[in-house]
């Protein structure tokens, strides 16, 4: 077995990522079949068999397996990306630009970059002729960003064999680097539980020149404003206690105790999101014309609950805060929380590899504040972890669902090397 030329592998990964980012898979509508076509072409060239399954017109999922026919490690990634607000980008979000040592584009971090690490890991295992004691699967799923109905949820019903795995490595936690030096690779065994809510209020339409006091747009604005002032309880669940302590031990923060964490959460939206149920007003829509009082106004709330919170209690509290009988509260999407164990061989291997490859780096457990496809595996009892082995600066993290999303070539090299080594150790004889 020859040694891997990591310079060449990195160059190859950069080229592939740039091409991948040029494929616009904004969801909605998704168009993930274009991404699948791209990935399929690469696997074909390597002589690796794969399967493609269409879940809706223009939307498909891709699966490939190396080694034994069941179990093993699944390298899971999603091919869709969230939409962009183009006017705020300084580069073409679908241009795959390489400049200043960075590859730019929607999906660079979430999660086409990780998808390329997984693809390259998969391909390198084949090229290196690694003898596989355990199976490795590569699964590229659609529709993660809109709730997975045409991705992993569809696969669960229509291609259950694709989910035959003992372990899932997926997005869900990035590594972090502080300007002061400390470096931490995070591993997420659980995540916040989304509860998406649509609010609808009806009023009396009429001519815009006569405000009549029953304007649904105003009812909605007033209720939403109450929601934004709603103070919710801060609470430290066990995985977050471990996280806080590990980050402190790694020299990443000076917050060590529960009390300090609760105080820090008042200042830090990111920590607050992991210590409380959150509510974000994400869309408001009403009106057909500037001089017509609308008959109906709607808004959506992106609520994320702690894994052990009761959604019905939360909804009850939300109704109290909205404090408007006219308001219809409709649940668009509700999930169930689940957690994978941290005392597993996977976590140990991650810890070993990180210690060997990145001097001075530590690992820390984390709770994903977003949601990922991992939840579907966890609910089936399959351990699934968020583990994107890059070391990101805070400003790079802002690109996730934000503007000017990018990943450094240095991180592509690091991610590729760490992921390959972790997977190699888990599956090789």
């Amino acid at each position: 077995m020859s040694r891997i030329d990591w310079d060449a592998a990195t160059a190859e990964a950069v080229a592939l990522l740039r091409e991948y980012l040029r494929i616009d898979t904004s969801n909605p509508p998704g168009n993930e079949a274009l991404a699948v076509e791209f990935l399929a072409g690469i696997l074909s060239a390597e002589g690796i068999a794969f399967e493609v399954a269409e879940s809706a017109p223009g939307r498909s999922n891709l699966f490939a397996r190396l080694g034994p026919p069941a179990g093993g490690v699944c390298l899971l990634n999603h091919t869709d990306v969230v939409p962009v607000e183009r006017e705020y980008w300084s580069v073409d979000p679908f241009g795959g630009e390489l400049s200043d040592g960075m590859v730019w584009g929607r999906g660079a971090l979430d999660m086409k970059g990780m998808g390329i690490f997984e693809l390259m890991t998969f391909i390198l295992l084949k090229r290196q002729g690694v003898e596989l004691r355990e199976s490795v699967t590569f699964l590229a799923a659609a529709d993660e960003e809109a709730g997975s109905a045409f991705g992993v949820s569809w696969i669960e019903r229509h291609r259950p064999a694709w989910m035959d795995t003992d372990l899932v490595i997926n997005e869900g936690a990035y590594g972090l680097v502080s300007s002061r030096g400390p470096q931490v690779f995070q591993v997420a065994p659980t995540e916040k539980v989304p509860l998406w809510v649509k609010l609808t209020v009806r009023g009396r339409p009429g001519h815009g020149s006569v405000p009549h006091g029953d304007n649904c747009a105003e009812h909605l604005v007033q209720a939403l404003e109450r929601v934004t002032r709603w103070q919710r309880e801060l609470r430290i669940v066990p995985i977050m206690r471990s996280h806080v302590q590990a980050m402190h031990a790694a020299g990443f923060s000076n917050v060590a105790t529960d009390e300090a964490a609760l105080a820090e959460a008042q200042r830090s939206p990111s920590l607050r999101a992991r210590l409380s149920n959150t509510v974000t007003v994400t869309t408001i829509g009403t009106g057909i014309k500037v001089n017509v009082i609308p008959a109906e106004a709607t808004a959506t709330l992106d609520c994320r609950l702690l894994p052990d919170a009761d959604p019905d209690t939360f909804l009850h509290e939300l109704r109290d805060v909205l404090d408007d009988e006219r308001m219809q509260v409709e649940v668009l999407n509700r999930f169930i929380g689940a957690e994978s164990p941290m005392d597993t061989r996977f976590v140990q291997v991650v810890s070993d590899v990180v210690a060997e490859l990145v001097e001075g780096a530590q690992i820390a457990p984390e709770m994903t504040s977003g949601f990922t496809d991992s939840r579907i595996y966890r609910l089936r009892g399959i351990p699934a972890y968020g583990f994107v082995p890059c070391l990101l600066q805070p400003e790079e993290l802002a690109g996730v669902h934000g503007h000017n999303e990018r990943i450094s070539v240095e991180n592509i090299r690091l991610g590729l090397q760490v992921l390959y080594e972790v997977v190699r150790r888990l599956v090789s004889a």
Partner: protein, 434 residues
């Protein structure tokens, strides 16, 4: 003699067919409406002119010649209608459904019904062959509901010869079957109107993932601003016109006397439609924020329908709103950049006003006729700007339910009102022009 029963059947038939022409603006497509009305005029052997302002959008003009001893009277109506929220209608909005003595359809009161009354008056003058002192100009224009740039605004700019008249009648005032909760026969002749000064508020924040809320969410900024505007009491302002209006109402026993200022103000505040004539209004009509349920929106926008009292300056109003919002993350700009300044009020004490007054009083002894201010904008502002007394006058007695049809759901006009409107309109025009 006029066979009014036959005329009523004719008017109803025309009205139903007119309502079946979908002239929702945007986009308008008013040409078929202009051609429909024009064909009825041509059938009487009269000439018509169609003036295209945009593809598929036309002005219809027809003229009955007077002897030139007096200036012309224009009967002006708009052919476009506002959009429909079909799911809130109990019947199709473009079929002209006649049910229980009511004619339902978008435009029934705003303003195809009045257009039919003007048309019937015009056709009857021709059929009766009466000698006219004044020219009578029938003019049906597009685009009133979207600012008139391709309707009356265009006509005044490009065809001033058409609007060279001494008086004009259009929408803006009408009869009300109830006033301040009491039965009444109150006819408003609109001599003045408010100035549209719609504003767009744009809030900019920081985008991000919906799972990690932060305080710089543009939707939150916008909501707080809208709330501050909602809680803003701008008081009550009396103008010379509205003062005269209140005096005439008080004389008719429909308002407390001016000496009891508190009672007057209380009654004004009880009625949204009345209140709107005494305040710069501000109405949130559109809000648009966000692209996806899990993305914090970087930009949120709201449109406010604002209407200013006569004499108020648009820019001063914008500055006032900016001060009230008090948040420099929020941009406040006009919805329409090229809006006109305040229009001068037309003089109400004219031969036309008194003709209307007399015709109505002779028809209904207990009727009250008042000069008034329209709270919405009409095409009359263009003509008033040219010094022409342009009056808003729909000669019907609308119930509150009927009046709610303006830009509302299940818009209708009763057959009774259509008949009354045709007769009164004819009589006003005949008496004024013969």
């Amino acid at each position: 003699m006029i066979d009014w029963a036959a005329i009523q059947r004719e008017a109803l038939d025309i009205f139903v067919r007119y309502l079946q022409i979908d002239t929702t603006n945007p986009p308008g497509n008013e040409k078929p409406a202009a051609r429909f009305l024009g064909s009825l005029i041509e059938a009487e052997g009269l000439e018509t002119e169609y003036i295209e302002t945009q593809p598929n959008r036309e002005v219809l003009v027809a003229r009955l010649r007077g002897d030139g001893s007096k200036g012309g009277l224009m009967l002006c109506n708009h052919t476009d209608v506002v959009p429909v929220e079909a799911r809130y209608w109990d019947m199709p909005a473009f079929e002209g459904v006649v049910r229980d003595g009511r004619v339902y359809g978008r435009g029934a009161v705003d303003m195809k019904g009045c257009g039919v009354m003007q048309l019937i008056a015009f056709l009857l003058l021709k059929r009766q062959g009466l000698p006219l002192k004044r020219d009578v100009v029938f003019c049906a224009v597009p685009d009133e509901e979207a600012g008139s740039a391709w309707g009356m605004g265009w006509l005044c700019k490009h065809r001033p010869d058409v609007v060279d008249v001494e008086f004009e009648l259009s929408e803006g005032g009408m009869g009300a079957a109830r006033f301040a909760g009491k039965p009444a026969r109150l006819f408003s002749v609109a001599t003045n109107e408010k100035l549209a000064a719609g504003l767009k508020l744009t809030a900019v924040g920081t985008p991000g993932h919906g799972s990690r809320p932060h305080e710089d969410n543009s939707a939150i900024h916008l909501m707080r601003a809208l709330l501050r505007l909602h809680e803003w009491d701008r008081g009550i302002t009396y103008t010379p016109d509205t003062t005269a209006y209140l005096e005439r109402l008080a004389d008719a026993g429909l308002m407390p006397p001016a000496s009891d200022a508190a009672a007057v103000e209380a009654q004004i505040r009880r009625s949204p439609a009345l209140y709107a004539a005494f305040v710069n209004t501000l109405n949130v009509t559109m809000v648009n924020s966000g692209i996806k349920v899990n993305v914090i929106p970087a930009k949120s926008e709201a449109m406010l329908d604002c209407r200013l009292l006569p004499g108020q300056d648009r820019e001063a109003w914008r500055q006032e709103v900016i001060r009230r919002v008090d948040d420099d993350r929020i941009e406040v700009e006009f919805v329409t950049r090229n809006a006109t300044g305040a229009a001068p009020a037309a003089d109400w004490d004219t031969e036309l006003f008194w003709t209307i007054n007399n015709v109505i009083k002779e028809s209904m002894e207990d009727a009250v006729v008042v000069p008034s201010m329209t709270v919405g904008a009409t095409d009359n502002r263009f003509l008033r700007g040219r010094g022409i007394p342009a009056y808003g006058f729909i000669p019907c007695l609308l119930s509150p339910e009927e009046a709610a049809g303006f830009h509302g759901n299940n818009e209708f006009l009763t057959v009774e009102n259509l008949n009354m409107g045709c007769e009164l309109m004819y009589e006003v025009v005949r008496r004024f022009c013969c």
